[in-house]
Amino acid sequence: MTANSNTVNTVLGPVHADELGIVAVHEALLSVVPGAEHAFDAAIDRAEVFATLAAKLTDFRDKGGRTIVDSTGMFHGRDVRLYESLSRATGVHIVASTGMGPEEMLGGYFLTPQTNPPTPWPAEKFADLFTREVTEGMVVPRVERRGAAGLVATAASRGGMTPTDESLFRGAARSALHTGVPLSVRFGDDAVHDLGVVLDEKLPAGRVVVGGLDRADAVAAGAPFRIARLGAYVALDNVGADDAEHITDKERAALVAELVAAGHADRVLLSGNATGVARGLPGRDLPYSHVLTNFVPLLLAQGVSDQDVHHLLVDNPRDLLTVR
């Protein structure tokens, strides 16, 4: 991809960054737990999947959304050709991701290769695999490559980063550094530590978004502020989640107001981590428009200005997603 462009990689090709509009920066379109595509009781009817996703994307557009980022990576149901058709049909820009993780979600090819001993993949091999999804295009497995990935996404295990997770993080960071697309990470049990691993690869913090920082454990640890001070993007991207694992929308809105008051309006991102269609897992059935319809009013009530809301939903994701 061309360096220092003003464009973002969407599934229909590069789009000028100013055209992105309001972005949902961490969502899932088709989300399939690896292997579920072979489940005897989980048939995937493409026409039905398309209709469901098209309705959700249209609702998002009707509420003001213009761009959606599928952050599921290359091995969790990603269907690039379906996303191309959806983008054409709905007019919503779709940015798809390469990458994978955490370790538990990988295939045996990466964990127990046919070598003696079966040593898991090192960072450099992951870097090469992910980089080619940007420079040569995203794979339709064993068939063809399509358009360029718009970001690299990976995650660490909840119990803490494993050695293979670390290889994924380092490989993903090198790939982001080499290609100019951003890196999106979900941390394990320590957001600051996990960000440190990618910064150790010399990737500028401003090219990284740390997701899931509205997890209750992260908020209790002060991680959103610590990540913002390190210069990375802070994604509060479980907006609408109403469970023990996360803070509530009301608490989330207060947290945004505090981050803005602390001078981090240029570092905060919002999204719902909704699952458009899920197979093999429950998924989070939330409209992609939830941030716009339900959460923005809470922000305004907290005293966050219209201008700051614009930063969070338009300017910050644009700056992150622009290929550098």
Binding site: G35, D41, M74, G107, Y109, N116, P117
Partner: protein
Amino acid sequence: MSRVNTVLGPIPAEELGFVAVHEHIGYGMPGSELDTRWWKTPEERYGETVPKLRRFHDYGGGTFVDVTGICNGRDVDYYKSLSAKTGVHIVACTGFVGGDTALPFFARASVDYLVRQFVHEITVGIGTTGSRAGVIKVGVSRGGRMTDLDKRIYRAAARAALATGVPILTHLAIDAENAIAIFHEEGLPLDRVLFGHADDGVNAEKTRDTWIADQGGRVGFDTFGYETELEDPPFWARPRKERLDHFLRFVRQGHLPRVLASADANCSPLGWPGVKGHTVNYLFEDLIPDLRAAGLGESEIRTIFVDNPADFLTIKN
């Protein structure tokens, strides 16, 4: 009525003929499909595969049992076209080559769910193909000991075998004590299990082949042809004579009724380079001449490649 599931439908066991009981049309570790270094066009895949199957047919081969597990690139529509065009019966499997080739969805699944997956593929069909699995594949993960996931898969396979009458093939026969304990607990007769790869270079020394046979299990010498004499042998290769002597010793100890043989070759590998010069036709081109030279008679050869596999593959219920 004797009956065996092939990808083109059930056939009588009498029609199986000469059987290569542990083979692969093409095998790749799960995830290898993401790595373009291994990709082949359909022209290349058919081009590498069809001549091998045609030669197998010309030599008198009747049936090719593909034991490529659920997440390893198993491609039943492709097998159907290969079978229809070459005349070779192809038996496809349900199950997994090992716990480390089962993707997260199945790694997290309960034994009960795995049973239903296997039974569905045996009695209703695999995916949308309508083809029913004829065998259940299980195996031991890398590392030499059965993992908890391996054990869940073995237990589910045992239950599915009892429910459907289809037999089980294993990848590796090491740690057989744990495997046999599970089969005993589930009440599965051991002659419904083929303990495979008793002959491979890495594990032969650790495999209790005669002990398995004494308990009634079937034993697979089914990596024939992976030889250290090859130009670029894989890590599981073994000197040709050593494997052959091992096999003959086993047969002459009275285990002929329990033994099966195959080559575990890939017609067109999916996620690895494969082994140059090694094909299913090793059985005809090298092994059978070696067996004759060692003094085995035609009836013994027939027992190994026709009668034993027919008895093993016939659905028993």
